[in-house]
Symmetry: C2
Subunit: 300 residues, 2 copies
């Protein structure tokens, strides 16, 4: 049994600057592993890791989020506690600095699992969530991406293969020293996406799932494909019913995506024994993991 395990991802896009992703993911996973070693809970560590990723403009989440068809940022996030299957999620919120913290607050301070739009923002304001103005999310890079995607009129699949959609969703899964699992996912969505479009990231069972009896999962890729296969919950049930470990469950989830819908996506898993694995049908995937004091980074 591993003392503790942590795995993070920076999306399923292909990386033109792999060294930048390597350095960023390494920094986050090292920081998270230190916290787990110090005895912090899996739930706190996945929250902290996703906050660090949301605060890095490299990713399509938090400050670096993609711009939608109106040139605006709308944010989605979810979190799940493997101890009790408690969960929180938000979708289509504006101006929230760290959507994963809002999702966690929904889990802890509301009776609900899923709040969206203005209602979620109002709940955030009533619960001391940090809001920022639209300049916080502005960058020339994202603005140029939006222009480029609008000119190309790409569909969902073309965006992945042309690398114009960055698919830079972030996520973290962990098993702490006490054997508890947790998962969290956060995204800014697709560049040029329609108002109101929601992918898998805020959907418990699609983008995120965690259950102490099985595994913790965070997904990335074309959200529509992950939704149609309930990919995170499927991986969890592959562990529960088929008795698979993380590596085989990740592979089985990938095969489900490919064989049933020719889907494009990826996932990271930490299982109840602390085994870490990833799999993806997308051209690229960026992940990093720590098992005890050993750190691994993989950018494809």
């Amino acid at each position: 049994m591993n003392p503790f395990s942590l795995m993070i991802h920076g999306g399923a896009g292909t990386s033109r600057e792999p060294d930048r992703y390597d350095a960023s993911l390494r920094r986050v996973v090292e920081a998270g592993a230190k916290l787990l070693n110090d005895g912090m809970s899996a739930l706190d560590v996945v929250t902290r890791c996703v906050v660090m990723l949301e605060d890095d403009p490299l990713y399509d989440a938090g400050c670096g989020s993609a711009l939608n068809v109106d040139g605006e940022v709308r944010l989605d996030a979810s979190i799940m506690d493997g101890r009790n299957l408690e969960a929180g999620a938000v979708a289509c919120v504006a101006g929230v600095k760290n959507p994963v913290i809002l999702a966690r607050t929904v889990m802890e301070r509301s009776e609900h699992v899923f709040l969206i739009g203005a209602g979620a923002e109002q709940f955030g304001r009533e619960n001391d969530i940090v809001f920022v103005d639209s300049r916080y999310f502005y960058s020339e890079e994202r603005s140029n991406e939006l222009k480029m995607v609008k000119e190309r009129h790409e569909g969902l699949r073309e965006g992945v293969h042309n690398q114009s959609g960055k698919l830079g969703t972030v996520g973290a899964v962990a098993r702490d020293k006490y054997g508890n699992l947790a998962a969290a996912t956060s995204t800014g969505g697709l560049t040029n996406q329609s108002m109101g479009r929601v992918g898998d990231s805020p959907i418990i069972g699609a983008g995120t799932y965690a259950d102490n009896f099985t595994c913790a999962v965070s997904c990335t890729g074309i959200g529509e494909h992950i939704l149609r296969t309930s990919l995170a919950r499927s991986a969890s049930l592959f562990v529960e019913i088929k008795g698979l470990g993380a590596a085989d469950a990740a592979e089985a989830a990938k095969q489900l995506l490919i064989n049933r819908i020719n889907g494009l996506g990826g996932l990271i898993i930490v299982d109840r024994n602390g085994e870490c694995a990833y799999a993806h049908s997308t051209p690229g995937m960026r992940s990093a993991w720590a098992i005890g004091d050993k750190i691994f980074v993989k950018i494809t």
Copy 2:
């Protein structure tokens, strides 16, 4: 093998007027069974049945929807085609006469699976969806329910046991003459619910799932509990991996709800062989089904 199968539900609330529900469910399931007998597809029949249920003020869906905390109606629906795992869903939309038709239009005419709020409404207007004004949804009964729930300050669980939350979500699942499966679910949410709260009904994998290789599922109950267990997708994987039929899969899904989170919910299933089943941990459940020319109605 049954020639065709259809199952519908009118929610997991307890029924003070069981005869009204019996008559309504019988009318809808008879109409749907006739269409299946005439050779209509499962996808078309679940759409038609949910439209009929949305158009009956008895249920918490469409015209009879519950009022939220602001005294307004916000609607959620989803649909899934078991032939190809295509799906469509909408949440938190205002003024849509038949949300299940909007969900189906998202599936058929957009690249996306899930659209919410104003973005979903805009998509509906661009695609000739019928909108109605707020008087369409007004009734003295719903208005009185809102007053009563506000006075009681009930939590989610108390609402179920006190029968003040009607839990009148509707759904339909079918297997047509050609062996194809489909599922659809529609709701007005909880009386007095917060702005932006979304339950399981519009979530593919939670409230709705359909896969020709396994079964078609529609859920009802406390949406938060169904979301945390990805109940519809779980039932589908119980069929796929454990090889269960509809009755055993429905019972296993109910046990999952009870054993893991003391959850309150119910579900209906038609499996790939046309077997129909329901199970519920809520005090009540209203369902009806047709296997060939035999009609059954069960109000508990």
